[in-house]
């Protein structure tokens, strides 16, 4: 299921940053609800695979501010993954993504990598069949969109 990184970049958001803090401490900031709320969003997260929870932000036009999530991976203190999907009325058509945090120890502390990948590999049959096509489609349309902007 792993795709080359060049492909990933087009349908995934990847953010990496080094933190000069111990890996265990960064893991806590990612997995303890009150700490998670301080830097990410209000939540009812539990580090338990299968746990369903929500992130909540103030509503904005076209979005109720709620993100529906389900914990997929808890591999302390290395990897954490959950789904990140539009909620409520937008659930069927809004974003349906997976957010994966990967922690790699470094001499100074830890390298944190966040990857939010475009479409869930299950459900959403409409998009599933089209996944590979989206890739090249977006690549080729980049120029067109740049001109249209």
């Amino acid at each position: 299921m792993n795709m080359p990184s060049t492909d990933q970049a087009l349908r995934a958001v990847v953010v990496e940053r080094s933190f000069a803090h111990p890996q265990e401490k960064v893991w806590r900031a990612l997995t303890q609800g009150p700490l998670l709320e301080e830097w990410l969003m209000s939540n009812d997260f539990e580090p338990v695979v299968g746990h369903r929870f929500t992130f909540r932000m103030p509503a904005m036009p076209g979005w109720n501010g709620i993100t529906d999530c389900e914990v997929l991976t808890v591999d302390a203190p290395r990897q954490l993954a959950y789904t990140w999907c539009a909620s409520g009325e937008e659930a069927a058509t809004g974003i349906s993504t997976v957010v994966t945090f990967t922690l790699t120890p470094t001499p100074e502390g830890v390298l944190l990598r966040m990857e939010q990948s475009g479409f869930k590999p299950h459900e959403d049959r409409n998009l599933q069949g089209a996944n590979w096509g989206w890739q090249s489609f977006f690549t080729r349309l980049e120029g067109v969109l740049a001109k249209a902007a």
């Binding site: 349908r11 958001v13 953010v15 940053r17 933190f19 803090h21 401490k25 960064v26 806590r28 900031a29 700490l35 301080e38 830097w39 990410l40 076209g62 009325e89 937008e90 069927a92 058509t93 809004g94 974003i95 944190l112 966040m114 939010q116 409409n126 998009l127 069949g129 089209a130 096509g133 989206w134 489609f137 080729r140 349309l141 067109v144 969109l145 001109k147 249209a148």
Partner: protein, 107 residues
């Protein structure tokens, strides 16, 4: 807005339709016959695809005599691109906040 996004996603979920749309984007205005020549499906099928693309706002049509010419509306793709742009800015901002939190956790 939900319905429009839904229509857009569905319109682009079909590879043949994407190919037709992409061709219009790259080569400019075309009629059904020209599109059919390269689509690998029948003209009625292409017409059906064009109708769905039109419903999603991805193409517009222009009638000239008996001919109908279709052209792409790339701006209709914006809702699809928006979330990528949004989250590209969102996560670095949140990582700044995480850094702040980690400093405070030391104290």
């Amino acid at each position: 807005m939900d319905t429009a996004t839904d229509t857009l996603f569905r319109a682009l979920a079909d590879p043949t339709r994407r190919a037709v749309y992409e061709r219009l984007c790259r080569q400019g205005e075309q009629n059904v016959r020209a599109l059919t020549d390269q689509a690998g499906v029948s003209q009625p099928a292409v017409s059906k695809h064009l109708a769905i693309l039109k419903e999603a706002g991805l193409v517009t049509e222009r009638r000239a005599g008996r001919q109908t010419h279709y052209s792409a509306q790339p701006a209709a793709l914006n809702p699809l691109m928006d979330w990528l742009r949004y989250y590209s800015a969102f996560w670095p901002d949140r990582f700044d906040r995480l850094d702040d939190l980690l400093q405070r956790m030391d104290q």
